[in-house]
C-alpha cells in the first residue's frame, strides 16, 4: 500500500513537474537577420523565422510534421472538377494592435484577397510595391491560380487554372501568409506603403515590438491568440553570425536556443550539463544524377552498377560528420508518403562489376562527376563527396574526372545537361511529395532546357503516376501513387540518392516543448521555460 502511495505521489509530482509554465523571456540565437517583414517578397529562411511568429496562413503545417491542417480557414471544400477551393474563415480573429496600428480590425475575406491577390493581380496597388514576388513565381502560382474572390465576409473562393492538389500545401508556405488589408490601406493613405515590410501587423502568436537591424527583433506574446496564448511572455531573436560565438553564448547561458551549430562542435555542446540537443532529419536530399541524354547512362545496368559501386554509408560518415542519414528514396523520411520499404543499393563492388560486364563494359569507362562548389544543407562538401565517389568508382574500373564551376555557372550548365553525372540536391518548399518527385524527376521537368530534372530521365510510367497524384485531393490515394513511383525510381535508378541532412538544434535544458519543423520553420508557441 505504502509503495502504491509513493508511486502515485511520484507520478503526481512528475506530471506536475512536466506541466508547462507560463512566463519568461526566451532568446533565440540565429545566424543572420531578417531582410524584410513582408514574407511574400523574400525567399530567405531568416525572414521567414520572424514572419512565422507574426502572421498566420489559411492552412498550416501541423507542428513538427508536413501534414496540412486548418488555421485561419477553419475548413475548406473542393469542387468536383478540382478547380474551385472554397474556404470558410475563422470568425472573431483580430489583428494585433501595435503602436502604429491602433484600430480594431477583424480578419476577414478581404485580407485574404489582399494578401494573395497582390501577388498576381496587377490592378492591386500593392502589386507594384516592394519588387518581385519571387516565391509566388518560383512555385509556379502564376500558372496555377486564376482568381481569389470574397464570397462573403467569412468565405473565400480560390479558382485554379488547372487541377493541382499540392496547391493547398503552397497556402501553408510563408509567401501565402495573411497580412491586414486595413493596415495596408492605412499606410497607403499616408503614402508609407514601404512600412508594410518594416512594421508588420498580423494575427500570429506573437506581436512585433521592435527590430534593430542585424541585432535583435523583439516580440511579445499575443495574449488573444485564436489558438491559445503562447507560454512565454517575450521572444527575442538575436543575430549572432559566427557559429562558434553563438555556441559560446549558449554555453554562457545568455541565449536559450541556437541555430546551426558547427558540425564539429555538436558533440562538445551535447556533453555540456546545461545543454540538450534536439535532432531531426531535414526536408532535403542530396543526390548524384546520371544524365540520360548521354548514351552511356541510357543503359539501366550502368546506372545500377554505379549505385552498387558507391559506398554512401562511408561518405555520410566521413563528410557529413554524423549530421546526415543515408538516403534511399528521392523524398526525405520526414515527408508523408515516404516509402519505408525501399532497400536502396547496398555497397557491393562485385555486383557492380558484374552489371558493368553485362552492359558491355567489363573494364569500366571514362566519365565525369560534377562537384558543387558550395556547401548546401544536403551536401556540406561537394568536392569531398565527389572525391570519395571517384575512389569508389575506380575500384570497379570507372575512371571519373571531377569537374567544378562557380555556383551560378554550375547550376546553369547542369540544367542544360552538359554533365555526365552531377551532384546536387533539393530542399523541400511545401512539404508535398510533388515538390520533389514532379519538380526533379518527372518527364515534364526534362522537357525544356534549362531543366530541373538533371538526370533528363523521362519515364512514362513514373510521370503518369505523378500526374495522377497531382490532381486528386484524397491523401490516402495520393500516398499509394507516390509509394509506387518511388519503387519505379529505385528500379530505374536515375539518381544515386546520397543523404538527408540531420538538423541539430542545441538548447538549454530548461527549454521545453520545442520541435524542429521538417519544413524548416522555428515555432515558439508551444515552447515554455522551466523556472
Amino acid at each position: 500500500m505504502k509503495k502504491l502511495l509513493l508511486a502515485t505521489l511520484l507520478l503526481i509530482t512528475s506530471v506536475a513537474f512536466a506541466a508547462p509554465q507560463y512566463g519568461g523571456t526566451l532568446v533565440f540565437g540565429r545566424s543572420g537577420d531578417s531582410t524584410s517583414m513582408d514574407p511574400s517578397h523574400v525567399t530567405d529562411g531568416e525572414s521567414y523565422y520572424a514572419a512565422t511568429q507574426i502572421y498566420d496562413n489559411l492552412v498550416q503545417f501541423k507542428y513538427g510534421t508536413t501534414e496540412v491542417e486548418p488555421a485561419l480557414a477553419k475548413s475548406w471544400s473542393v469542387s468536383d472538377d478540382g478547380l474551385e477551393y472554397t474556404f470558410k474563415l475563422r470568425k472573431g480573429v483580430m489583428f494585433s494592435k501595435t503602436k502604429y496600428f491602433k484600430i480594431d480590425s477583424e480578419f476577414t475575406s478581404k485580407d485574404v484577397v489582399f494578401s494573395l491577390g497582390r501577388q498576381f493581380d496587377a490592378s492591386q496597388p500593392y502589386n507594384k510595391i516592394g519588387g518581385a514576388f519571387k516565391y509566388w513565381s518560383a512555385m509556379d502560382m502564376t500558372n496555377i491560380v486564376k482568381s481569389v474572390t470574397a464570397i462573403d465576409k467569412y468565405t473565400v473562393k480560390i479558382t485554379l487554372k488547372k487541377r493541382e492538389a499540392p496547391f493547398i500545401a503552397n497556402l501553408a508556405m510563408e509567401f501565402s501568409m495573411i497580412l491586414s488589408s486595413d493596415y495596408a490601406d492605412q499606410l497607403a493613405k499616408k503614402g508609407k506603403q514601404g512600412d508594410l515590410s518594416k512594421k508588420p501587423v498580423g494575427t500570429g502568436p506573437f506581436v512585433f515590438k521592435k527590430w534593430r537591424k542585424d541585432d535583435k527583433i523583439v516580440f511579445t506574446a499575443n495574449k488573444n491568440y485564436w489558438n491559445g496564448r503562447p507560454y512565454i511572455d517575450r521572444l527575442i531573436f538575436k543575430v549572432i553570425t559566427n557559429n562558434a560565438v553563438r555556441a559560446a553564448e549558449l554555453k554562457a547561458g545568455s541565449i536559450h536556443i541556437m541555430d546551426f551549430p558547427n558540425p564539429a562542435e555538436v558533440a562538445d555542446l551535447g556533453s555540456n550539463a546545461k545543454i540538450k540537443l534536439v535532432k531531426q532529419e531535414g526536408l532535403n536530399v542530396g543526390y548524384l544524377a546520371f544524365n540520360q541524354e548521354k548514351k552511356l547512362f541510357q543503359d539501366k545496368r550502368v546506372r545500377q552498377a554505379i549505385c552498387y559501386a558507391i559506398n554512401t554509408k562511408g561518405i555520410v560518415k566521413a563528410v557529413y560528420e554524423g549530421l546526415g542519414k543515408v538516403a534511399t528514396s528521392p523524398i526525405p523520411p520526414t515527408m508523408w508518403s515516404y516509402n519505408k520499404n525501399l532497400k536502396g543499393y547496398e555497397y557491393n563492388p562485385e555486383k557492380a562489376k558484374k552489371l558493368l560486364a553485362e552492359a558491355g563494359y567489363p573494364n569500366g569507362f571514362k566519365t565525369n562527376i560534377w562537384a558543387m562548389p558550395v556547401a548546401r544543407p544536403y551536401n556540406p562538401n561537394g568536392r569531398k563527396v565527389a572525391e570519395a565517389m571517384q575512389a569508389d568508382l575506380a575500384k570497379v574500373g570507372i575512371k571519373a574526372k571531377i569537374i567544378s564551376y562557380d555556383w551560378g555557372t554550375y547550376l546553369k550548365k547542369s540544367s542544360m545537361g552538359e554533365h555526365d553525372m552531377v551532384l546536387l540536391g533539393w530542399t523541400g518548399d511545401n512539404g508535398d511529395p510533388d515538390n520533389f518527385l514532379n519538380v526533379l524527376l518527372s518527364a515534364h521537368a526534362a522537357k525544356e532546357k534549362p531543366a530541373q530534372n538533371r538526370a533528363f530521365w523521362k519515364n512514362a510510367e513514373f510521370t503518369k503516376l505523378i500526374d495522377e497524384a497531382k490532381v486528386i485531393t484524397d491523401g490516402a490515394k495520393r500516398t499509394k501513387l507516390y509509394e509506387r513511383a518511388q519503387v519505379i525510381f529505385e528500379e530505374e535508378a536515375p539518381w544515386k540518392p546520397i543523404a538527408n541532412s540531420i538538423v541539430v538544434e542545441p538548447m538549454l535544458k530548461k527549454v521545453h516543448g520545442f520541435k524542429l519543423d521538417p519544413v524548416g520553420k522555428r515555432r515558439f508557441k508551444e515552447v515554455w521555460l522551466e523556472k
Partner: protein
C-alpha cells in the same frame, strides 16, 4: 586655405569615379548569373526573369553603369534587392555602430600606442622597450577574428566577466538619437545601459584596436628616436627644460607628423578590420551587413556602400592633410 580645400575636393572626383568603375565592373563581371545564384536550386525561368528585370540586368552594362552613377550623384543609391529598402537608409541604420566601434578602437589604439611608443623611445633597450615592442609585433601578426574568439573564450565563457557578443544586452532598450549608444544611453540618463554598452565595447574595441595600436607604437618609437637626436632637442635640454618638457613639447610635437598620417590612414584600415571584428562579435554595423550583401550578391548595397566608404576615406585624408598644418606650421597649404 579655402582654395586648397576646394582643390583637394575636386581631385577627389576622379578618384571616386575610378572607384565606382572598379566596383561596378568587379560586381558585374563576376562569373555566374546573380539572379541564378540568388535563387539557387529553386531557379525556374519565370522567377529568374522576374528577378533579372527587378535587378535591371536586362539592360546593357553601360546603361546600368550610367544609371548607377547619375542616381548616386543625386543621392539615390538604389534599393537593396534582398530587402527592397533604400540602401542609404539601411546604411544610415548601421553606420553609427561601425563608427562608434572604430572610434573607440582608434582612441584606445592611439593612447596605448603613443604611450608605449614614447616610453620605449625614451627608455630605449630597457625591459619595457623589449616587452612592449615584442607585444606590438605579436599584435600586428595576430588575425583579428582569431584574437576575437580567444578573447571571447577567455573573458566571456571561462571567466564570465564580459558579454560574448552584440552591442547591448537584450534587456535594455535605448532610443536611436545619434545612433551612438554611449551618447544615447547618457541622453536617456540610463546609466545601466551606458555601463552595459561599455562592457560590450571592450572586447571588440580591443580586438580591432590591437593592430593599429601596434603600428602606432612602433611608428612613434622610431619617430621619437629620430627626433631625440636633433639639435633642437639637445638645445632644449641645454637650456634647462625639464625632461617632461623636452619629451612632450620639443620632441613629441615634431615626432607626431608621420604618426598622424598613419592614424588617419588607420581609420580606413579600421573600417576594413571592422568587417571581421563585427562578424566575430555580431556587431550590428556595416561590416557584417556588407559581408551578407556580398554573399547574396546584393549589387546596389555592394556598389553604393563601397562608394560611400571611399568618399569617407577621401574626406578623412583631406582632414589629415589639414591637421598637418595645425601640428606643424612649417607645412604650407598650397
Amino acid at each position: 586655405m579655402i582654395s586648397y580645400i576646394i582643390k583637394r575636393l575636386l581631385w577627389a572626383i576622379p578618384t571616386l569615379l575610378g572607384v565606382s568603375v572598379l566596383v561596378f565592373s568587379m560586381v558585374h563581371l563576376a562569373p555566374g548569373d546573380p539572379a541564378l545564384v540568388m535563387l539557387g536550386e529553386h531557379a525556374n525561368k519565370e522567377a529568374v526573369d522576374a528577378l533579372r528585370e527587378q535587378m535591371g540586368l536586362n539592360k546593357p552594362l553601360l546603361e546600368q553603369y550610367y544609371f548607377f552613377i547619375t542616381s548616386a550623384v543625386q543621392g539615390d543609391f538604389g534599393t537593396s534587392i534582398i530587402s527592397g529598402e533604400p540602401v542609404i537608409s539601411e546604411f544610415a541604420d548601421r553606420f553609427p555602430a561601425t563608427v562608434e566601434l572604430s572610434l573607440v578602437a582608434l582612441t584606445f589604439a592611439t593612447i596605448a600606442g603613443l604611450f608605449a611608443g614614447i616610453v620605449s623611445a625614451v627608455k630605449r633597450y630597457s625591459w619595457f622597450d623589449y616587452i612592449s615592442m615584442s607585444t606590438a609585433l605579436a599584435g600586428v601578426s595576430m588575425p583579428v577574428f582569431w584574437l576575437g574568439l580567444m578573447l571571447i573564450y577567455f573573458f566571456s565563457v571561462n571567466l564570465g566577466w564580459l558579454p560574448v557578443s552584440g552591442r547591448l544586452g537584450y534587456e535594455f532598450d535605448i532610443d536611436h538619437v545619434t545612433g551612438f549608444y554611449l551618447i544615447d544611453s547618457l541622453l536617456m540618463k540610463d546609466y545601466a545601459a551606458f555601463w552595459d554598452t561599455c562592457k560590450h565595447l571592450l572586447l571588440p574595441a580591443f580586438a580591432l584596436g590591437t593592430i593599429p595600436m601596434a603600428i602606432i607604437a612602433r611608428m612613434t618609437r622610431a619617430s621619437m628616436i629620430e627626433v631625440m637626436k636633433e639639435d633642437y632637442v639637445r638645445t632644449a635640454k641645454a637650456k634647462g627644460c625639464t625632461k617632461a618638457q623636452v619629451i612632450l613639447i620639443h620632441a613629441l610635437k615634431n615626432a607626431l607628423m608621420p604618426v598622424i598620417t598613419v592614424i588617419g590612414l588607420m581609420l580606413g584600415t579600421l573600417f576594413a578590420g571592422a568587417i571581421l571584428t563585427e562578424t566575430t562579435f555580431s556587431w550590428p554595423g556595416i561590416g557584417k551587413w556588407l559581408v551578407n550583401a556580398v554573399n547574396q550578391r546584393d549589387f546596389p548595397i555592394i556598389q553604393s556602400t563601397t562608394l560611400i566608404i571611399a568618399t569617407v576615406f577621401v574626406v578623412i585624408n583631406i582632414i589629415v592633410d589639414l591637421l598637418y598644418a595645425v601640428v606643424n606650421p612649417k607645412v604650407r597649404l598650397s
